[in-house]
């Protein structure tokens, strides 16, 4: 879709909300909206798209109470602001919008959180991403390094970039708004998304991308929306297998889950952000003992996180029940860089080839 068409659609969707309220008021009805409940319990697996989305539980916000009325008032101010921004072809960050609300009297935001949640509400109501409203995320974009060529529509014109040849060692920096990206072609066999910078650089230094035709994506911890969207787009466009390589602890499993199944906070965007076909490489709890990796004892918080994952519908598979159970049993965790204890080449020469071929990727 062209930028103009996208903008028109966004404007239309926002107006639809305002019009609904207007009609309610003219009809003598207290204005209200209805939104899905955003909790772990209200995540449901969508068979068609194979991702986790919000289920059917909804909560109604109506201007019957001062709190909800205020919410609606703020939302109408935000809609007004976004409408103007779309008309003027401007964009802004959530933080900027927060400061702009200073002039909104009663509708002023009192915390950044409030504006964030409100934008998420609008995403759900319009079925559009915030980028469609020209809202820039603050989150860090990640980097990509590998045999893939893309086009980026920037304000300064279209740039065509090959992510091995045209970039420095740090790779190609993913922009905030990835809807402006188009993936052109590639010479890769698969994508490997990596949690830590140390491992990203290790694979690059050891020439893993060249040797195995891998596109390296540095997730920088819990991946930003734009990074997850890029993984989704690459998979969509080129049908390349997506694999995820993280540390072996409960927090890292959540990184994988957000790539593959979507996150609780953005379940309404799962179809755009999640890549259900993404496969988990490791570090698996079984790897820790199989490879005798240096390890740390699970902290109390780790154990709680693992147990909470056992009740998370996204981890309700045989594989994860086994791995999490195993980890609770052995009581330890390891980092991906722990493979260095067996030599700097071990991870690229031994572990990854073995694990990837076991997974059917190589």
């Amino acid at each position: 879709m062209s930028k103009e068409a996208l903008d028109a659609q966004a404007r239309q969707e926002l107006l639809r909300i305002a019009e609904a309220w207007y009609d309610q008021m003219v009809g003598g009805v207290v204005p209200s909206i209805s939104l899905p409940t955003r909790t772990k319990q209200n995540l449901a697996f969508d068979e068609t798209s194979e991702v986790w989305k919000y289920g059917e539980r909804e909560s109604l916000r109506s201007a019957h109470s001062a709190k909800s009325a205020l919410h609606l008032l703020k939302m109408s101010y935000v809609i007004g602001f976004l409408k103007q921004q779309l008309i003027e072809n401007r964009s802004s960050t959530l933080r900027e919008m927060y400061y702009i609300s200073e002039g909104w009297k009663k509708a002023k935001f009192h915390a950044q959180d409030e504006s964030n949640l409100l934008i998420e509400d609008l995403e759900i109501l319009t079925m559009l991403q915030r980028e469609a409203f020209h809202l820039r995320p603050e989150e860090d974009g990640a980097t990509v390094f590998g045999p893939i060529r893309l086009k980026e529509m920037t304000r300064r014109g279209v740039k065509e970039i090959h992510c091995q040849e045209d970039v420095g060692e740090a790779g190609y920096a993913i922009p905030n708004n990835v809807e402006n990206l188009e993936f052109v072609d590639h010479d890769a066999k698969f994508v490997i998304a990596i949690e830590t910078g140390g491992m990203y650089a290790r694979l690059q230094e050891n020439g893993f991308d060249e040797e195995y035709g891998a596109v390296l994506v540095h997730l920088k911890g819990q991946p930003a929306r734009s990074t997850r969207r890029v993984l989704h787009m690459i998979h969509e466009k080129f049908k390349l297998p997506i694999t995820v390589f993280t540390d072996g602890d409960p927090w890292s499993y959540r990184i994988y889950a957000s790539v593959a199944y979507g996150s609780i906070k953005s379940a309404h965007m799962s179809e755009l952000l999640a890549t259900p076909q993404a496969q988990f490489i490791g570090v698996q709890p079984s790897d820790i003992s199989d490879y005798d990796l240096p390890s740390d004892t699970l902290s109390e918080r780790d154990v709680l996180a693992l147990k909470s994952e056992l009740s998370d519908p996204r981890f309700d598979t045989e594989y994860w029940r086994y791995q999490i159970g195993r980890q609770l049993e052995i009581g330890i965790k390891s980092e991906q860089q722990a493979f260095a204890a067996r030599g700097l080449d071990y991870v690229t020469k031994e572990y990854l080839p073995a694990r990837l071929s076991e997974m059917g990727v190589l």
Partner: protein
């Protein structure tokens, strides 16, 4: 080697007065600070007890004066029945002398130590005798005695004794002097205030070092004095049984039915049967083993709880509430008197009251008032079963903050009445931890907590309605404004929405582009007549309609319109101006009106 004979020569008996002289702390005289409070407490206890027995409404007057340096003169005077002159020396000059020790009923004093301990303390520190004035009725003259205690023998010594004129027709007055300090004056006043709360039938006046204090009588009903009861089978020990059996001439069955509470013929026979004793057995002939099995049987058989209506004297829910209301201003206060209960054969009864809000301090620990047999407990709060029980209640469930003890604007009164209050020490500062008593306290407090919760949520509900009104009158118009701007359509009419939900009179002020608009809507089902007060710096000379009344004061103008509105009707006035200032409706109750300044 020293021989036993040598040792024996120095053996001698010690008088109880000598013992207590050396162990003052056991009686609450461990510091000069406490001395005054303890003395007044003992004298007031005696006065209240005596008035109760005589069925008089107590009128007590207390005076404390600094004489020289740290020497204080303390005087307590009552309108009780007075004391027979021949008894006076013993009551004030002999430790362990009293009328209530052997009786099983609720009373303040019990052991006959308190006031004579004060006399002992006085002669120990100041050397001055106690002065007692008493009169038993209008027909007899008042008598004034100077009394001391012969410590070595615990016997009284009367230094002087003469008839004196006195304006009271009956009553007792005691004057005591000792070295002390008034640094705990606040506690003393607190003690008197608390005493007033649980003795609403008493008038207590005092002048403490020049500072006057009065706790007025709230009730004019004379208290019915508790009657003594017989011991309950569950409440005696072997030693006591032995003593009762000595010199008993009746056969066992009769002994049981006549000497114990709640033991009828059937119960007595059951006891005999369990103890394998003949009902006709001679009680005084029972040997130690038989006495033991008798006691075991008495405590094994099912006996109803001892009677309490006679021997206990609860304050009552209504009087507790009135007593508290006289002393504190609160939004909520309720009281509960629990049914009487029993521990180890001693009847007891728990009463509690719970106050909330009002002038109570909104921050910090709540206030706990502890009472035993209508006597305030001032010291050792932490060690007391009442405090522990209060802490044991889950106050959060009733909407009250809690950090161990309840927090915030809350006042808790607990009164434990018993024929035998189990104190942790003879200074009677704290009630011992007895599960039966603690359970009753917790039940009473939970009951009150539920009432309080209902009150708070009722109050919150009212607040919610208020809140909803505010939402509709203040926020929805703003939504309408913004939304119509977005959809680029005219402002919708909101009266239908408002009328639908609101049943009040709504007044609004809004300023747009230099024009001030006041509006009043009657959403009630009745005609209303109100005055609209609009105060601001705008002269509003062009107001339409013109106000019925205008008063300028410096730069401020007060405008008043009289408005009569049938149900469902609205009224509007407007003028050129900057807005601001204030708007109000008069002539209508607070509950029925909503005033909203849309510019704020």
């Amino acid at each position: 080697m020293v021989l036993a004979e040598d040792l024996a020569s120095s053996q001698r008996s010690i008088s109880i007065a000598e013992f207590f002289e050396k162990n003052k702390h056991l009686l609450g005289f461990d510091s000069p600070t406490r001395g005054i409070i303890t003395t007044i407490k003992e004298a007031v206890d005696n006065a209240l007890d005596a008035c109760e027995e005589a069925e008089v409404l107590p009128d007590i007057y207390i005076e404390v004066k600094r004489k020289t340096g740290d020497l204080f003169w303390i005087m307590v005077e009552d309108n009780g029945p007075g004391i027979m002159p021949e008894q006076v020396p013993f009551v004030f000059g002999k430790l362990l002398y009293g009328s209530r020790f052997h009786q099983i009923r609720q009373s303040r004093g019990q052991q006959g130590i308190g006031i004579s301990a004060a006399v002992l303390y006085a002669q120990l520190t100041s050397g001055t005798p106690a002065v007692v004035t008493t009169r038993t009725g209008p027909a007899t003259p008042a008598v004034r005695m100077e009394i001391q205690i012969k410590v070595a023998t615990n016997e009284p010594k009367v230094l002087s004794n003469k008839e004196v004129p006195w304006d009271r027709t009956h009553g007792t007055r005691v004057e005591i002097e000792f070295t002390s300090t008034l640094s705990a004056k606040k506690r003393l006043i607190e003690y008197l205030r608390y005493t007033g709360v649980v003795n609403p039938h008493a008038r207590i006046r005092a002048e403490i070092d020049g500072e006057p204090f009065t706790s007025e009588r709230v009730s004019n009903e004379v208290l019915v004095c508790p009657k003594a009861i017989k011991p309950h089978p569950y409440g005696i020990e072997l030693g006591m049984l032995k003593r009762m059996a000595e010199g008993e001439t009746r056969p066992l069955l009769e002994f049981l039915t006549s000497e114990f509470s709640r033991v009828g013929k059937k119960t007595a026979e059951e006891i005999c049967s369990i103890a394998s004793l003949r009902p006709a057995a001679q009680v005084k002939r029972l040997n130690a083993d038989q006495q033991r099995s008798l006691l075991a049987a008495m405590q094994q058989v099912k006996v109803p709880a001892p009677p309490t209506s006679q021997c206990l004297s609860p304050i009552g829910e209504e009087l507790m509430v009135r007593g508290l209301e006289a002393e504190f201003r609160m939004d909520f206060v309720k009281a509960r008197t629990r049914p009487s209960s029993v521990f180890s054969g001693h009847p007891f009864m728990v009463e509690a009251a719970l106050g909330y809000g009002g002038k109570l301090p909104p921050e910090g620990n709540g206030q706990i008032m502890r009472f035993a047999n209508r006597v305030p407990l001032i010291y050792q709060q932490g060690a007391c079963a009442i405090t522990q029980s209060v802490a044991g209640v889950n106050w959060k469930a009733y909407g009250i903050g809690q950090q161990g003890l309840p927090m915030g604007p809350v006042l808790i009164l607990v009164h434990v009445a018993s024929t035998n209050v189990p104190f942790t020490s003879e200074s009677k500062d704290a009630i011992a931890s007895i599960p039966e008593i603690e359970k009753e306290i917790v039940l009473a407090l939970q009951d009150l907590g539920r009432d309080l919760k209902a009150f708070i949520s009722r109050r919150d509900r009212t607040k919610l309605q208020e809140d909803r009104a505010r939402a509709i009158c203040a926020i929805i118009p703003d939504i309408a404004l913004k939304v119509s701007e977005i959809v680029e359509k005219p402002l919708p009419d909101l009266t239908v929405i408002e009328g639908q939900i609101m049943h009040k009179v709504v007044a609004r002020k809004r300023t747009t582009t230099g024009r001030v608009v006041l509006s009043v809507h009657n959403y009630t089902a009745k005609d209303v007549e109100v005055q609209v007060y609009d105060i601001s710096t705008d002269p509003a000379l062009d107001a339409v309609p013109a106000p019925d009344f205008v008063s300028p004061l410096d730069d401020t103008f007060t405008r008043v319109w009289r408005v009569i509105l049938p149900p469902g009707q609205g009224w509007e006035a407007s003028y050129t101006g900057a807005g601001g200032g204030s708007l109000d409706l008069r002539g209508i109750s607070e509950q029925m009106k909503v005033v909203v300044d849309l510019d704020v």
